[in-house]
């Protein structure tokens, strides 16, 4: 059966405009839930960027001299591996260090030009067995004085707190996002069901004069998809706005310990947008498909 494009267009428009309050309410809720979802992704990424070095159980980093010899390096490595207080201490070689350096100083060209791979101190990311403040401090003090150790950098109180706070906000936002995604799904589901319910006589008649199920279903599914997409596009706009606000906030709070490492890169924005659009499409397709399964058995 050939489906007439003109017919589909006409019906979909009619559906969307017939119950304009419900359409607006759906789009708004989809928008807000996806915006919150997007913000959650941004905050999570920003926090991850800020604390990436100290991910997992890594509590301090032992930087070794740049001009260290292989045997000296082996000695440091052995002293870490043999230490009963150390759980794991993977080595970050020159290659990986340089990559991370490039990431951190992206955009600052002079910096990038003047530093070459060999210039940077390589390091061990140390995860101690006992993570209490005292025992970590003891270990830090010990390695600080070892030969060939350039510098030991410990996860400060600030970073721990920062993790706590971002976890808190992340959890809060995730809770909102989940509730809102459920609400959005229900709403899209519902807008379509309402549209179908309002037209159940019409659907019954369509079936009685010989329309196939897909002929009836397609305009309704398109309606759901369009709602989801509008909400998604608005949310993507919001993600960019939020990125602007965050940058602004970060600029104004230079010097504040807590946020100094907090940064949002454009790849994070892209990720957030992809998540938002992906969820928007999944949400609307699934809801529409579910919604149109009813009212079709005449």
């Amino acid at each position: 059966m050939a489906i007439n494009g003109n017919y589909v267009l006409r019906e979909t428009t009619a559906n969307l405009t017939r119950n304009i309050t419900l359409t607006v309410a759906s789009v708004l809720t989809v928008f807000v839930s996806l915006a919150i979802l997007g913000s959650t992704v941004l905050v999570r990424q920003g926090a991850q960027n800020a604390t990436r070095q100290f991910e997992g159980g890594v509590e301090f980093i032992v930087y070794v001299d740049a001009d260290i010899t292989p045997s000296e390096l082996a000695a440091v490595k052995a002293s870490l591996e043999d230490n009963p207080g150390v759980l794991r201490a993977p080595y970050v070689d020159a290659e990986a260090t340089y990559k991370e350096f490039r990431r951190l100083f992206k955009g600052q060209e002079t910096m990038l030009e003047n530093v070459r791979k060999g210039d940077l101190p390589t390091s061990f990311r140390v995860e101690p067995k006992d993570k209490s403040v005292e025992s970590v401090q003891e270990l830090v003090a010990y390695y600080q004085k070892r030969p060939n150790v350039y510098y030991v950098s410990a996860a400060t109180e600030v970073i721990r707190e920062m993790k706590a706070i971002t976890t808190f906000f992340n959890n809060g936002l995730s809770v909102f996002a989940v509730f809102l995604l459920v609400a959005s799904a229900l709403l899209i589901l519902n807008t379509i069901r309402t549209a179908m319910f309002a037209r159940r006589r019409e659907i019954e008649v369509m079936k009685l004069v010989g329309a196939t199920n897909w002929f009836i279903r397609i305009p309704f599914m398109l309606e759901g998809l369009i709602q989801g997409l509008i909400g998604g596009v608005l949310a993507v706009g919001f993600v960019f706005l939020a990125k602007g606000w965050l940058d602004d906030l970060l600029n104004r709070s230079k010097g504040l310990n807590l946020l100094q490492n907090f940064s949002i890169e454009s790849s994070d924005v892209t990720l957030a947008c992809l998540v938002v659009v992906g969820v928007a499409i999944t949400l609307s397709v699934v809801s529409s498909a579910l919604a149109t399964r009813r009212f079709l058995d005449v």
């Binding site: 059966m1 006589r201 019409e202 008649v205 079936k207 009685l208 004069v209 010989g210």
Partner: protein, 225 residues
């Protein structure tokens, strides 16, 4: 064309709307279904259309056992069966023209066909002037005529009509009966449920009489009673 074999329809609460019905309607026949209110006329028509499933028995339409039809084939069955519903079943948000055109659009007829067929059939039922009106702006009889126009616009093999003259005055009824007669002469099988004694008595076609669900009479050139 249509064949019922021991067809019964029992609704919940043990209402027997149709009891062991047997009949055989040939292509091109014109059949009146008569009987008192609640005797099962509409039920029989709804069974032919697969609007309802029989409780027991087999129904053949155009050679097919419709109880064994794949559900995706049902639309194609229905495209061969025009139906005038007792409660019209017009779409209240579409105009008269759109209501009739709809039956063609749904089955994918090209636009130029719609544009010529619809006005022609509206002319036939005397509603050319009302083609822009919505159903609730029509009188009962006018709505009934829109329903007839829609049922016949795609020239079905079979036309089922459930009291198509129930809300029409005698003069208009005669006009509609002439129309159905003409449709029948083109080879379309017509099954019509009716209460109108004068129509049945004038037309003298095959009459099937129902009483509390049972076929109590099947007469070749019958009268109402």
């Amino acid at each position: 064309m249509i064949k019922l074999e021991n067809v019964s329809k029992v609704f919940k609460g043990d209402v027997v709307a149709l009891r062991e019905a047997n009949c055989d309607i040939n292509k091109g026949e014109f059949v009146f279904l008569v009987g008192p209110s609640g005797s099962g006329k509409s039920t029989m028509i709804r069974l032919l259309n697969k609007q309802e499933e029989p409780s027991t028995g087999a129904i053949y339409v155009a050679g097919k056992h419709i109880g064994q039809l794949n559900s995706w084939k049902v639309p194609y069955l229905r495209r061969n069966i025009g139906c005038v519903f007792q409660d019209y079943k017009l779409l209240s948000n579409k105009t008269v023209y759109e209501n009739v055109a709809f039956a063609l659009e749904v089955i994918g007829r090209p636009r130029h066909v719609v544009k010529t067929q619809v006005p022609a059939i509206l002319e036939l039922v005397g509603l050319s002037k009302k083609h822009k009106n919505y159903p609730d702006e029509l009188s009962g009889g006018e709505q009934q005529r829109v329903s007839i126009a829609r049922a016949f616009v795609n020239r079905p093999l079979i036309l089922l009509a459930d009291e198509p003259t129930g809300n029409l005055d005698p003069a208009t009824s005669v006009g509609i009966m002439r129309l159905l007669d003409r449709i029948n002469r083109t080879g379309t099988t017509v099954v019509m449920a009716t209460h109108d004694r004068s129509i049945v008595d004038t037309m003298r076609r095959r009459v099937i009489e129902l009483d509390r669900g049972s076929i109590i009479r099947d007469q070749a050139r019958g009268v109402y009673e």
